[in-house]
Symmetry: C2
Subunit: 443 residues, 2 copies
């Protein structure tokens, strides 16, 4: 009898111990990283100074500050400010006639944004020039923006010149760009993103927290343009976020970023469309993985668990970034390398094809007697080929965020570029315009 | 004191139970599927009759027999004998002048091989015609082959005509094509595969069993050609198994499968290069996954575990095939669909580009005054574009075995096809050869 009692007691202890461990594990999982620390100070709504938020969230703040100096490169990208024009001089030709052909450095970490946008050679600070840099260029560069947008409205913000806004903007990207003070909820702060979702009949306030761990990145990491004379920040998403739908949107709007010199092609400059690219049926997005899962992996500081805000390429910390899901990170890094090599070499082939098209269209225009309809068709394909290429090229993953989409898009871009070249030759009936490798000949 | 004794006893029982479960689990994992059944009958070396092997291995045999009737299709492929020429009439043009333009049905299950090769409209059974079908065409069709190769040597086998070999060949593919009787070891039985490995300095006898679960498929699922007058079965692997290396090999050999009518392009027909395609750095191959892991998943019959020999698309049994590694098979099937859709549409764009090239080269040849060097360069690019396209098209996965490689290869094929078209136009200085969409115009 006594034996059974002992057995029952032992059993009870085991059950209780298991239950306790379970409760502890559950509690730990349910504690959102924002609540791991009790607030010490109250943060004003849209507070631009991240240092103040940092009193409550020192780990998040300290890791954000690391982006000031995390300037390490990967094979194809990274966080130093290397010059794309030096690394791949084809881009000087591809962007001829617009500021990216003069100065196009790779992006550094988030905390350098403000310094870098003010230092870029793409600025035109002569406000008497109608082509001066608009204030809209500050849209994604500062934690002062949410407050300024609330105060003056985005329309007024965008109408000011870059020069005029400068005195109002003192902080690089920070907490206020993605978080609601007090609740620390992830929020859309860029009015253009809110409007773009609305145009698609979506309300971001209904999104799950995991979805928001991708959507807050879309406050900036998107394709956009400056609409009309007021340079109103607009995302071209009305028809969808795939590349064809964005081209269709720009077509309907009759928009061009610039006219290509000596071909008069109405060109489009793609920005940094990470959000559209990643969410286009990529394997990681469809598996429910968010941007933050890989770029801001959970990290421990003693007992505290927090999302690292030292955002950079996961290739620089694959154990932390990929290791949360993938057991063999050596294998994963090898995969990324294989994919990026394939995308990088295919991208160069597309660039060569576009440069051949440019060379041919220039010659057709210079001829003076080109068939106008054929020449316009050539320009249309030149415009589309370059935008398709740029969606892959300006996107900061050398295709990894969505490898099949990258390669399919490049295949289409090359096909369009070659057809543009052929149309140019047809427009003046001159087969000498069909030479290939013009980049290598001119260089 | 008695309490402690009881506790110790309870502890001991738990430890023993855990140990026993561990030993049982270990034993189960270590039992290779071939050893699950004690042999009942002795199998002669290279026994062609699979039914005899089936006495010892009824599960494997029964599942192999299911390939007779597993004629279910997937979206892009499957196991019915649908006509590729009807599904995609572009292929009639792409294969013009060679037997695949007359009859090109999708492959059915393994047990139908012999029936299907004898029924195909591609055969030429008139042995008085120098272009009659050689015996080499039986190389991958029968379990009689290992015995015949051992008896007469592959050289003699390949010198016979299809007609002459017919009486010696009575069984479709079977056990003897991949297994050594007695040991059931996975082995290379096709002498051409052994020679291809040797040419690369590799000895398959040193490969692991897991590697052999891919390599035995390469007994047949490879790119090959019939070398010289003796129609000697040869794999073009000397320079490597990527598409550029195979093109280089054929170039060095001066080999062509046929001359394209009215363009005189020395064409290459890709066969079913699943092995080369999959092992070219694909995500699954690099992760150590074998062909058999997905196409012959482990299955249970009561207590016995065996590799299903009912080989077909894993899309038809994703729970068994993908579920061994992937928790969410709905997600996995969705991924495959997305990838195959992207590859299929890119493939059609490549086909249209090649048909435009063919149309242009034909016109240049018909002109009679084409620049010979330019025309030859156009033919070279036509040959390469079609072989690159065919490596993806003839490969039985609509790109899924290696999505990035498929899309990169198609991008290169399209670029080459467009350049071929441009060279043809240059060769006679006529821009009217630059029309696109000729497939739609001719159709």
């Amino acid at each position: 009898m006594k034996n059974y009692t002992t057995l029952t007691l032992v059993g009870l202890v085991i059950v209780l111990a298991v239950a306790l461990v379970g409760v502890l594990m559950y509690a730990q999982n349910q504690t959102s990283p924002e609540r791991a620390t009790q607030p010490l100070v109250e943060i004003a709504p849209m507070e631009p100074d991240s240092a103040k938020w940092g009193l409550n969230f020192p780990n998040q703040y300290d890791s954000l500050m690391k982006t000031k100096t995390n300037n390490v490169d990967t094979t194809y990208g990274g966080s130093s400010a290397f010059s794309w024009l030096e690394r791949d001089p084809r881009q000087k030709i591809l962007f001829a006639g617009m500021p990216f052909s003069k100065d196009y450095n790779d992006d550094r970490g988030h905390i350098n944004m403000l310094e870098d946008v003010r230092a870029t050679g793409r600025l035109n600070l002569d406000d008497s020039d109608p082509k001066h840099t608009p204030g809209t260029c500050y849209s994604c560069k500062s934690s002062d923006n949410p407050g300024l947008w609330a105060e003056m409205g985005m329309e007024e913000f965008d109408k000011m010149s870059f020069n005029e806004l400068t005195p109002h903007i003192n902080n690089s990207l920070g907490c206020a760009n993605c978080h609601e003070a007090g609740t620390m909820r992830l929020i859309v702060t860029n009015p253009a993103l809110e409007e773009a979702f609305k145009a698609q009949g979506k309300d971001w306030k209904t999104f799950s927290r995991q979805e928001m761990r991708t959507v807050v990145c879309a406050n900036c990491h998107v394709e956009y343009y400056f609409k009309g004379d007021g340079k109103y920040l607009t995302f071209p998403w009305e028809n969808g976020t795939d590349v064809e739908s964005m081209i269709k949107y720009y077509e309907e709007e009759g928009f061009k970023d610039w006219a290509y010199p000596d071909t008069d092609t109405p060109m489009l400059k793609a920005q940094h469309p990470e959000y559209e690219f990643f969410t286009q049926g990529s394997t990681h997005y469809n598996a429910g993985v968010s941007c933050a899962d890989c770029h801001m992996p959970y990290t421990r500081d003693g007992a505290a668990k927090y999302s690292s805000h030292d955002v950079h390429s996961p290739l620089l910390n694959p154990e932390e970034a990929c290791g949360q899901c993938h057991a063999d990170t050596n294998y994963v890094v090898e995969r990324v390398n294989i994919i990026q090599e394939q995308v990088a070499s295919t991208k160069i082939a597309t660039e060569d094809a576009i440069i051949d098209a440019v060379t041919a269209i220039k010659a057709a225009v210079a001829n003076g007697k080109a068939d106008a309809a054929l020449l316009d068709e050539a320009r249309k394909l030149h415009r589309e080929a370059q935008f398709m290429w740029d969606i892959v090229s300006a996107e900061n993953s050398t295709g990894f965020h969505n490898p099949e989409y990258a390669l399919k898009t490049l295949a289409e871009a090359t096909n369009r570029a070659r057809q543009a070249q052929m149309l140019a030759a047809q427009s003046i009936g001159d087969t000498s315009l069909l030479a290939t490798g013009s980049y290598y000949n001119v260089k």
